[in-house]
Symmetry: C2
Subunit: 207 residues, 2 copies
Amino acid sequence: MDNVSITVIRRLPKYYRYLEELIEKGITRISSQELSNITGFTASQIRQDLNNFGGFGQQGYGYNVEDLYRELGKILGLDHRFNSVIVGAGNLGQAIADYKGFEDAGFKVVSIFDRNPKVIGLQIRDIEIRDVELMADYIKENNVEIGIITVPKESAQEVADAYVKAGIKGIWNFAPTDINVPEEIVVEDVRLNESLFILSYFLKNKV
Amino acid sequence: MDNVSITVIRRLPKYYRYLEELIEKGITRISSQELSNITGFTASQIRQDLNNFGGFGQQGYGYNVEDLYRELGKILGLDHRFNSVIVGAGNLGQAIADYKGFEDAGFKVVSIFDRNPKVIGLQIRDIEIRDVELMADYIKENNVEIGIITVPKESAQEVADAYVKAGIKGIWNFAPTDINVPEEIVVEDVRLNESLFILSYFLKNKV
């Protein structure tokens, strides 16, 4: 499982989402061909992708939707509950804290940190905004594994360093810049600017 | 230029971002090897990628940073100003409207729409939240090319349909579901859930 390509791994959450939609529709089993029609990936690619993790289908039956959904969830680590914190209580930090969908998927935001005295003490849902000076202790005392960065790019590295020092294991980075962290720290970047530029590219270069 | 692969296109905004950082540092020229050290892509991949668009380097000189930055900007359509609107004035919609970085890059949010009377009439910066009933006329009268979707997934298709009917050309979709639109409409999805699940995967499957 260690040498599954990142391209395959990035498709797993898509399969997971489509399976969730199938469950919502009451569909209990599906062939790789039907899955192909929905996802746009080829049936053989789907079979190959899933075979990396053990191959959950049965010849002539296809996939049991609920089983596959549950197994993919385990592979993605969604059977685990992750505590996370946010540094940066601006609109984006607040939007992430406010979105219950992440919590439902097992990612609970337990605190937000900022250095602006005007927002310290405020709450988003039941999540308090605390002074960033308290962050390191809070992370250690509350089993926090994920640190979310929603500060401007100029402060992103400083926040990343503080997260690493406090013992965080993974960073979800929304700042539009690269952060440098030790190899054992997992970093996932969300590049909203880049996504918008791709939209722009295709608007300009439409055939 | 029509048959450049999507993988190459998705690297362009990254080059653009790195070039911007080089300009900020006052660096005026760079070799593909130095660019490789910064970006993590190989020098030959960088040369190949850029050759798709005309090849801007000179043997023995490398790339002129400002020239390449400007040319990539043009290729990405960033020399064009796009008016955009948002449907969904929740935290995420407000965060996008409030982020001046998109406007600086040429993507101006000119209005937000919602159906909640409690938020209609409010302003984010100088951007008014209007009744979604007014959307179609507003889009036609204000040369709006991009529609942003920040509503829950249950309403995403309905918003997409309304955008298409109003004549929008591109959709930036933050709802965690696929939207179906005519082929000529450009759709760029931002899948925050999927990004978080990838982080989770690597946290669980860390070597």
